[in-house]
Amino acid sequence: MLKVQNLHKAYRRHATVVPVLAGVDLEVAAGEFLSIIGASGSGKSTLLHLLGTLDRPDSGSIYLDGQRIDDLPPRQRDRLRNQKFGFIFQFYHLLPELTALENVLTPAMVGYSLCGYWWSRRELRRRAIGLLERVGLGHRLSHRPRELSGGEMQRCAIARALMLQPPLLLADEPTGNLDAHTGGQIIALLRQLNRDAGLTIVMVTHNLDLVAGTDRVVRLVAGRIDSAPVSHRGADHDYAGLHQRQAG
């Protein structure tokens, strides 16, 4: 479904160039739940932003369902983000002025024209309420983000990501700001969505404890995908091994 070839990305500030991705090759099959792990600063979030067309690579290419998407004009990239990708962020990124229901409806408001939205408003509202009920927030429709707990905000963000039924969910440290128990609930919810709806999920995290339930785990080391198998024994042990390999 998603294919990445020789992806390079570096950040520049004046004369200083900080390379982040140095030739990433990756393939994600439809319906797969892929975890990308790596230490902080390894380029996980950058990779996810490139996959989600929020940023452009310096070189390399990204294909979605066989169509190259990294060089699309801005309007088409905007459309793609709206229709094909659902984003989940570490800090939930809900709009504070809107209620939970309005936050979930936002992708529809962005994607539909004013008239289109008006005509479909009942159906869209029904779908948004259904999604919020599905993530356990049926009783929190009119609550603002500041009135929700961290776990509830993340569940609301998941409902928002699913609003336009995108085929691909991109999750950037979705449990990074939550305690272990709530984080586990979020991962379980994602797993359930992956199994029940066949949703393709790409999740980046530095927490190896969360990746156990995912279909495949890849590791990002020094801006490349490390081909060595990833053990689920614990983050500390695994990162020690990663550092040894990088030094070698």
Partner: protein, 472 residues
């Protein structure tokens, strides 16, 4: 849809935005009030000037005037524009000095004035005279006749003297003594009537309570003597005569009320030795809008070397132009208030964009376009402009409607008169709300709000989504 929703929510949740609304509101309200008052002054002044002046006047270039006004009027009536003329009246206008005594043996006052000799009947048809006379009877049918009260005052001032029986002669011896001088009494010599400007005959009481209508103190009562001295027409010799005040001319235009005195045309002609000559012919048109066309047509008939043909607007051109210039200047200066409000919008929006950086990143991650993000903030500016302009319009119209009450309240509170009523002789601040102007002010304010929101909106729209999402 999200743009409308967010504009509305930002408006309701960002209290800082109310500062912008208040700035726009005050700017719009001030402009509406100033425009309405200036327009009120302007239209009232125009109305009064037009009320005083005839539509078109054919004037002599010299004080000597021109001969045979009846023939001139016949030529005007027979001209191609004759059918446009409603009425005509011959007139003499000349500078003069007037002298009068305040009270029976009071102070002697001498002052310059503009002496107008007119025929009351024909001038009443032309307009700008009879309607401003104070005596209601004269307003119906103007005349220079003294009222009974004025005649009584004249008699008090000039008591009748016994008439001499004949030429005095020395008595010859043997003749009987002459009869006693107790009878008969000579009829009193009553002076001719003169109509004086109200501001000549009275003065405003400066001690009137603040904000209240000023009281007039009368110096010249009907029947009082006035001596007029002017120049003869043929030779520059002083000519003078005594007149008795028969009425006041009160147009509420200080320039006219403080300078004009009116006497009968035929008498002024005799006084100035200019029989059958006048200095101008005043013309009233059926349609005042035709004044310029009539002026041009008449100027072709009467050569410019001897006659000047003017419309009432030509005569008051500099004054009317000054009012227009004043209004435009005030508009420009006051529009600065709205521009300042615009800079307020720029500053506050820039802050809001910084505050909303992450939200902008979120919206971009959800597929919002650059134009979409920009339109949120431009729409927000538009909304602030519309709300501010609407509130400003309501406030401006409310102030305009109650401007006199507000002026009186401020005058009472501060002890400082804001609207000195003796300057224009208006007892109320005149206002005239012009809907076209109100619309223009609103459009200007809304446009300013939109223009000043473009720069922050552009900044928001061009934010890199990843940098915006990572913004702390």
């Amino acid at each position: 849809m999200y743009k409308l929703l967010l504009c509305g929510r930002y408006l309701l949740t960002r209290y800082l935005a109310f500062v912008c609304i208040v700035s726009v509101m005050l700017g719009v309200a001030t402009l509406i009030v100033v425009n309405s008052v200036m327009s009120g002054f302007s239209s009232k002044l125009k109305e009064r000037l037009h009320g005083l002046l005839s539509d078109v006047m054919v004037e002599s270039v010299s004080l000597e005037g021109f001969a045979d006004p009846a023939d001139k009027m016949r030529r005007i009536a027979a001209s191609p524009v004759g059918h446009l003329i409603e009425a005509m009246s011959p007139q003499i206008e000349v500078f003069a000095m007037m002298q009068f005594r305040v009270g029976y043996r009071g102070e002697l006052i001498t002052r310059p004035c503009k002496l107008i000799g007119l025929d009351p009947d024909s001038r009443a048809k032309v307009g700008g005279f009879a309607e401003f006379l104070e005596n209601p009877r004269n307003r119906q049918r103007p005349s220079f006749a003294l009222s009974e009260e004025a005649q009584r005052r004249q008699l008090l001032l000039h008591p009748p003297l016994p008439e001499l029986p004949g030429p005095l002669d020395f008595a010859r011896p043997g003749e009987p003594p002459p009869p006693q001088w107790d009878t008969p009494i000579a009829p009193p010599k009553v002076a001719r009537g003169i109509i004086v400007g109200h501001a000549i005959a009275t003065y405003r009481d400066k001690n009137a309570p603040l904000g209240e209508s000023a009281r007039d103190i009368v110096l010249l009562h009907p029947g009082d003597d006035v001596t007029i001295t002017t120049v003869g027409a043929q030779r520059l010799q002083p000519v003078y005569d005594r007149f008795a005040v028969c009425d006041y001319f009160k147009s509420e235009m200080s320039e006219y009320d403080a300078n004009y005195v009116f006497v009968p045309l035929d008498y002024l002609q005799r006084l100035r030795t200019m029989e059958d000559r006048v200095t101008s012919i005043q013309i009233r048109l059926k349609d005042p809008e035709q004044a310029a066309a009539v002026r041009d047509a008449l100027q072709r008939i009467f050569p410019a070397s001897t006659y000047q043909v003017h419309t009432w607007q030509d005569k008051q051109g500099p004054l009317l132009a000054a009012i227009g210039i004043e209004r435009n200047l005030l508009n420009i200066i006051l529009f600065m208030i709205i521009v300042v409000a615009g800079f307020g919008i720029l500053a506050i929006f820039s802050m809001i964009v910084v505050e909303k950086t992450r939200d902008i990143g979120i919206l971009k991650s959800l597929g919002a376009t650059t134009l979409g993000i920009m339109s949120i903030f431009v729409g927000y500016g538009l909304l602030l402009g519309v709300v501010g302009a609407a509130l400003g319009t309501v406030l401006g119209l409310a102030i305009t409607d109650n401007i006199n009450e507000i002026e009186r309240f401020i005058a009472r509170s501060t002890g400082q008169a804001i609207f000195p009523r003796d300057v224009y002789y208006f007892n109320m601040i005149p206002t005239n709300v012009q809907p076209g102007n109100v619309v223009l002010i609103n459009v200007g304010a809304i446009l300013t709000a939109v223009i000043f929101s473009v720069a922050p909106a552009l900044r928001a729209a061009t934010l890199h989504p990843v940098r915006a999402l990572r913004y702390e």
